[in-house]
Subunit: 304 residues, 2 copies
């Protein structure tokens, strides 16, 4: 059992030592930098402090509907200065994983996408061929002919080697039928992330995990997930940034995704904030499955 | 461990004794009476034989998109003479369960339906108020306003007490969002059936279970299922037909749905046929979880 986390809020010497210990800080965004449309006071100044001390800041998000440049716009609109190179989202993580880790041989390496434009942008940026996605011809009801043509393969692209499922606001029966059929014929199964819910408007809506789970249930196959806490995402991040894991710290508000992601990735540190989902009581229980190394009440407490 | 089933094919005396033992025969349809669009030879004559010996025949199907009268048309189109009163489908089973077993007090007893017209017909026949279903205003993309109005409840009917999920060929993000929100606010969760796949065109397509599973994953709640092998369906059948379970026999081609349904319902008998999914090797294994009492190679072997 890991020890209880050290609280840094108000402990100036401990904060200084904490910051000195790491070269790289990985940030979850919602619940850490902001909540919904509300930027937490001191967020920008905290990032500036870390950068002024030579630290690398990386924003890691499971949001699969946005490309990095979409997400940069989101950060800018929230008033958080950043650059594309600091952003690591699950759509990009998926593209990197396909192009640099899976490396399926052509021609059977096309990707059937269930998801939105952010995934397409990132696949394109890695030169990966794909179909599905936002294709308007798939945004329709299934027809009697479709059943025959899907089952006999005439509606399928025989070069599909991967099904990638992310959050799709236009999910329908036809796309699920096609996704199933590709998987049943041997395509590899990837998911941008497995979060069953998406926080929005102070409530929850279906997340990317709610798009892939019918396919999991139909095929009995588990996808490789590219979002937190999957280590496939950590491998992708490390592949890109080439940092020393012992000198990196993951900062987040969720024990089961952010903190678990950092711990399983054997990062040198994990820091929880109490401005999101997680409460101190979650790690205080004797049987708490995940405990961060440190916590602060709010991110801006790192300013001392 | 149950003993191996007795093979009746070709055993005239045993068949005669088998038929004499039961008053009621419950039939699964696809894989027993027909396969796809192909009626097995001797099906009609076998049903006539049983009826001529005074037996009650009941057709039990997990198909949730059809009402009983829709299903009667299906039986007629296959050349199987029947009547509405002999048909028990999961949409009807769901309606019976809601009206005669759950009996939620008005006004908070409306049903939010995710599914097709068959469910609506059966709910209407039991006088149950509902919304959703085939409502064309829900067959559209989610809008930014929807997030707010779903989350704050202004788009919801406060009298919804039940979410009923069946096979919906028009499933979309909006319906899943509404279904989740009703469940999160305390509605009871029912599913017509939990089959993840639907056999069609000699392949598989998403079944009713693929519609409910995102809601299961989002809420952590398991629905009460009204299809085989759920005993809620057996209770509904018994509630309607008032038969002696010891004098009833379930006939089917699937061990995990049909035969399990009969065994868990403590029917006097279960008969497997080898014209569908199930093979003899499935129950011959030492660790076979389900063994029928009897089997025939094909249903028409009961004609002796």
């Amino acid at each position: 059992m890991a020890p209880l986390p050290k609280r840094l809020t108000g402990e100036l010497a401990a904060i200084d030592e904490f910051i000195d210990r790491f070269d790289v800080f990985l940030f979850d965004c919602d619940g850490v930098l902001w909540s919904g449309d509300h930027l937490f006071p001191g967020t920008v100044e905290t990032l500036e402090l870390l950068r002024s001390r030579g630290k690398k800041t990386i924003f890691v998000t499971n949001n699969s509907t946005k490309s990095r440049s979409d997400y940069l716009k989101k950060l800018s609109s929230m008033g958080v200065p950043s650059s594309v190179d600091e952003i690591f989202a699950s759509a990009y993580s998926s593209a990197i994983y396909i192009s640099r880790i899976m490396k399926l041989p052509a021609p059977k390496n096309k990707v059937f996408v269930i998801g939105e434009a952010g995934i397409e942008t990132e696949l394109r940026s890695e030169g990966i061929e794909f179909l599905g996605g936002t294709d308007p011809s798939l945004r329709r009801d299934i027809t009697p002919e479709d059943y025959t043509n899907i089952a006999n393969g005439s509606m399928l692209d025989e070069n599909v080697g991967i099904v990638l499922a992310g959050l799709d606001f236009h999910i329908n029966y036809l796309k699920l039928s096609l996704g199933y059929q590709y998987l049943a014929r041997g395509a590899k199964f990837l998911a941008t992330n497995l979060d069953s819910t998406l926080p929005s408007a102070h409530s929850f809506f279906p997340g990317a995990g709610s798009i892939s789970i019918p396919l999991i249930s139909m095929t009995g196959q588990q996808p490789i997930a590219l979002g937190k806490p999957s280590q496939a995402m950590m491998d992708s991040i490390e592949g890109k940034f080439q940092f020393d894991r012992k000198k990196a710290c993951m900062i987040g508000d969720r024990l089961d995704t952010d903190i678990k992601f950092g711990l399983e990735g054997k990062l040198g540190g994990t820091l929880a904030v109490l401005t999101g989902v997680c409460k101190a009581e979650h790690w205080e229980a004797d049987d708490a499955p995940v405990r961060p190394h440190y916590y602060v009440d709010k991110l801006s407490d790192l300013r001392g």
